[in-house]
Symmetry: C2
Subunit: 606 residues, 2 copies
């Protein structure tokens, strides 16, 4: 009862299915929920670019500007090509669905696996970066960053289990607050920079440890590609928008891209202008904010805003992951319970699994954003590429109005994201991307195994012929007992309500108590036969199993119903003091054919 109460208090009362329609999101709420993932990347993307470039010394940092422009190009291409997907798939056009519709099963499963991995990484990276924003402002918390990350994750999990609309409301205010704060910083900073009021600090000169090769520049670009992760989230969630879904989603996408592009380019430009270098214990954005605002109230407001934005960004993965899992479950590639709505109209199982995996990563990588980045973005770019390629195929085969124009848009998208994928995969491969490829393989294998299992099952249980499969005609009922008490009597009386042969079975562990039980049985047994079976190995379980096996052998055309008198304690911990034998007996009997297990409960009051 207490557990149920806690659940209600945390998650709210169950919602009726009929309430589902009302759970749709306005554009303002949808932008907060679906865009925080993409926009929040600005908090770490520039830093990740610099972190690679600085390996080649301070001078190499100038490359951050052309790299940022390359990423801006990616943002533009993705926005235009994803808008086409949003219009074409109003039911929600995740990479999995687009690939399955247009490319076939294997590409679809690869895209799905890649996306699932990236959802988990999104949560871990966002939470880690959010906590980094906090510890940049309050360095004394640095030591507790893993614990803080776990608390933040749990908070998001609970919010999501409450249901989508309430989460939206809850998350909208801080999201807009932090976008605003970042905007003010970029605005003031740019103004100061342009009109020469800002003091350009000369950074510590970093010695080069690597040469400035093309590979290093590409690696820096790959690290920066984390900026565009999350741009696909809207296309997965078109159905969550108010009508007209596609139109609203498409518009929201443009807002999102504009905000993302402005903030990302602004931060990259300012970081270069002020000569900010990555530090272990302070983020680039935090350093920038100190230059622009000074360490005052505005600075702290920005850090808190950034933290909230990042932590809430993880939230968008909690919309995407369970949704994808439910689609996969519906198609038979995931266990069926992933496709079941919980009390609050959300896919509770998916939320819990995503939360658990993300917490695991946070602990494993000690809450360090930089350590997680090499794994990140690989998956998302694979799914980008499959989406765009799927759309190209769609226009080529389906044609339809303006198909040439649309083909060119998605064609450019496919080629651009394809090249980016190759760059990311090759530059990050040895730094951890190989783990992602391995995981994709494992997941795809898992999806196919699950599907083929469900298929085998449905073949086996299908009613194909018109005649019923033959089943046993008669029934022997046995009641294993180890004494005579009210629970046993109750089981006997229940068994007597039914037709068929009934006998109690007693294992002869100790002749003395066997004799005593036989006497009691004469009084209470109601004429039901009592069979005493020998117990050469002191194992009651083994003796009972042998006896049942013998019954099955002797009576080939019978069911054997085992009626188990089960004493149910009043409190859960008391279970350890009861039913261990019943449990083992049931586990052993479950795997025999023609055995039917029947529990007759006897409820204790105290």
């Amino acid at each position: 009862m207490t557990v149920m109460f806690l659940k209600r208090w945390l998650l709210g009362d169950p919602l009726k299915s009929a309430q589902a329609g009302h759970e749709r999101l306005s554009k303002t709420l949808a932008l907060a929920i679906f865009s925080s993932n993409a926009i929040s990347s600005v908090a770490y993307a520039t830093e990740e670019i610099l972190l690679v470039l600085v390996l080649a010394g301070t001078a190499a940092v100038a490359w951050s500007i052309p790299i940022s422009f390359a990423i801006l190009f990616l943002i533009v291409v993705l926005t235009i090509s994803y808008r086409q997907i949003v219009h074409e798939y109003p039911e929600g056009g995740g990479a999995y669905i687009v690939a399955r519709n247009n490319l076939g099963e294997l590409p679809a499963l690869i895209a799905a696996a890649a996306l699932m991995i990236d959802y988990v990484l999104t949560v871990a990276v966002s939470v880690a970066a959010g906590i980094a924003a906090l510890t940049s402002a309050v360095p004394s918390l640095f030591a507790y960053r893993v614990a803080l990350g776990l608390v933040a994750s749990l908070f998001i999990i609970v919010m999501n289990l409450r249901g989508v609309r309430e989460s939206g409301k809850f998350f909208a205010v801080p999201t807009y607050f932090s976008i605003g704060a970042l905007g003010v910083m970029v605005g003031i900073g740019s103004f100061q920079a342009l009109f020469g009021q800002g003091v350009s600090v000369s950074p510590d000169q970093q010695t080069a440890v690597e040469e400035l090769t093309l590979f290093l520049i590409l690696r820096s670009f790959a690290a920066g590609c984390s900026a565009v992760t999350g741009m696909e989230v809207i296309s997965n969630g078109v159905k969550a928008f108010r009508r007209p879904e596609s139109q609203n989603a498409s518009t929201t996408m443009i807002y999102m891209s504009l905000i993302l592009a402005a903030l990302f380019m602004g931060i990259s430009f300012l970081a270069y202008h002020y000569g900010v270098m990555p530090k272990t214990d302070e983020t680039v954005v935090s350093q920038l904010a100190r230059f622009i605002f000074g360490t005052g109230p505005l600075y702290y407001a920005l850090q808190i805003g950034t933290m909230l934005l990042l932590i809430l960004a993880a939230n968008s993965a909690f919309a995407g992951f369970p949704h994808l899992a439910s689609i996969l479950a519906r198609d038979g590639y995931m266990p069926r319970q992933m496709g079941t709505f919980g009390d609050r109209l959300v896919f509770s199982n998916g939320i819990v699994i995503l939360g658990f995996l993300a917490c695991f990563l946070l602990i494993l990588f000690r809450g360090d954003t930089h350590a997680l980045i090499p794994l990140y973005a690989v998956g998302v770019f694979i799914s980008f590429t499959f989406s765009q390629a799927g759309m190209v195929r769609r226009w080529l085969t389906g044609k339809g109005p303006h198909w040439r124009k649309k083909l060119i848009v998605n064609g450019v998208g496919a080629v651009t994201t394809g090249i980016a994928t190759i760059i990311i995969a090759s530059t990050k491969f040895t730094h951890g991307a190989w783990i992602v490829f391995l995981l994709i393989l494992v997941l795809v294998w898992m999806f196919r195994s699950i599907r083929s299992h469900y298929k085998a099952v449905s073949e086996q249980i299908a009613l194909t012929r018109d005649h019923r499969p033959p089943i046993p005609r008669r029934n022997i009922v046995i009641i294993p007992i180890s004494g005579v008490d009210q629970a046993v009597i109750r089981a006997v009386d229940y068994a007597r309500t039914r037709a068929g042969e009934i006998r109690a079975v007693l294992v002869d562990v100790d002749p003395e108590s066997t004799a005593r039980i036989q006497t009691q049985w004469a009084q209470w047994g109601c004429g039901v036969q009592l069979t005493v079976v020998p117990c050469p190995y002191r194992s009651v379980l083994r003796s009972l199993l042998d006896h049942v096996e013998e019954l099955l052998q002797k009576n080939q055309d019978h069911w054997v119903t085992v009626v188990i008198p089960e004493i149910l304690p009043a409190r859960w911990w008391q279970n350890i003091l009861h039913n261990q034998r019943a449990l083992r007996l049931k586990a052993a009997l479950l795997f025999k054919d023609r055995i039917i297990l029947t529990d007759v409960p006897f409820h204790l009051k105290r």
Copy 2:
């Protein structure tokens, strides 16, 4: 099947009860099994004495000799007084039994709790010290001491699960080998010391960090008291001896004490003579052996011997703990399954629990003997004191032949161990002994809770009146279905073999599939009524529970039998893909009165 095979291979074939008599031990085997605990303490007791004294500087070490004599006095007193217990309690006279017979329930439970804690510590301390003997000889293994300790523990656990006699055989050879090796070392060392051939090394002068107070000397004595732990083991296991049990046990006890006293006094004397000081990475015995033997084959033989003796010493706890747990279970203070013999005539559950707890301590204390010592010996001295006090009470009330002489013997024992207990408890209290006191309280509370629960249960299920308790007279059978397939048809056909009203219940999740299932039912349902229940909250489980609740309300005088068609996969991992709903349904229904759960299995072939 593989698991069963592995179990057989590791543990041997099951033994018949009739073979139990043959499992009795000869004195030679019993000495190996029951004495290794006490004797092996010589490997660390002297070191623990020195470790405390050296805090007061090198000069204070001279106090180790009088302290050793005090401990020798304890050994003598315990030997004499425990022989009386062995004779008085041929069935096995552990502290629990003696206290229960003579002092009452509470002292008995305190003694039992204290003993159980000390059994666990015995395993942890012995294994840690055994590994220390190994890493003293091979310092490169020092880093792996926890892992090595765990491997050793697992080895002992498996040996014990095989059964008592085979363990005895297996353990006798190394035990005697190591006693011999230690004896040779003490012999040669003493000879050299007496006849001036040994080179007395002048130890590094240690600076005093504490003053040489009476408290420090008493703390050193308390640490040294670990030498006598395990002396009670024989009295617990009298029943395992060959006839005449008491006589054989008593004789074995004398041999044990003689060996223990000789080795302990020898090592303490030699350590002082050679000026050996405790080191972090080498035991005192190892240093001593290097002085006496040089680092040659004899030295290595001794270290290996000591290691084996210590690791096997843990074994005696594996005889004592499960035995005590089974006695407690028989008296209703522990869960009943602790009192059940396993396949190999040993109390398997007790062995596994002891092994698990000891491994937990090894990991928690990083396999460090010194860290464990402050917890050790408290419990065993509490049980010593209760045993002796119980015997005193026995002679006072029961009298009998020579009762005055016997009273004096146990009186001296009670006073001596009582004083030692107070010294140990007070000097070690802040160093960790408080944990032991707390645990004793918790265990005693647990014992009493379990007992009072079992008592409440037996009152509730007792058949006290001559008339049968009234039970429901009629039966409604419902079969929850979510489709029509062979598993469902099988359940329906089974249900039809019995009398009573039968109906299938379908939860209306989706009107389309409901209509389809109704059509199929018309063909396959054999005239069984199909009830469609609404599903406002999308929770199939909740709808079913509501329906069942309604049935129970409407039919107060009926059983409601829920027949569940259960699809059983061919492989265990496939369970995650099935029956989640059935499982949740069963868990929810188990706690309702008048509900009978019946599983009709449908076994998949692939």
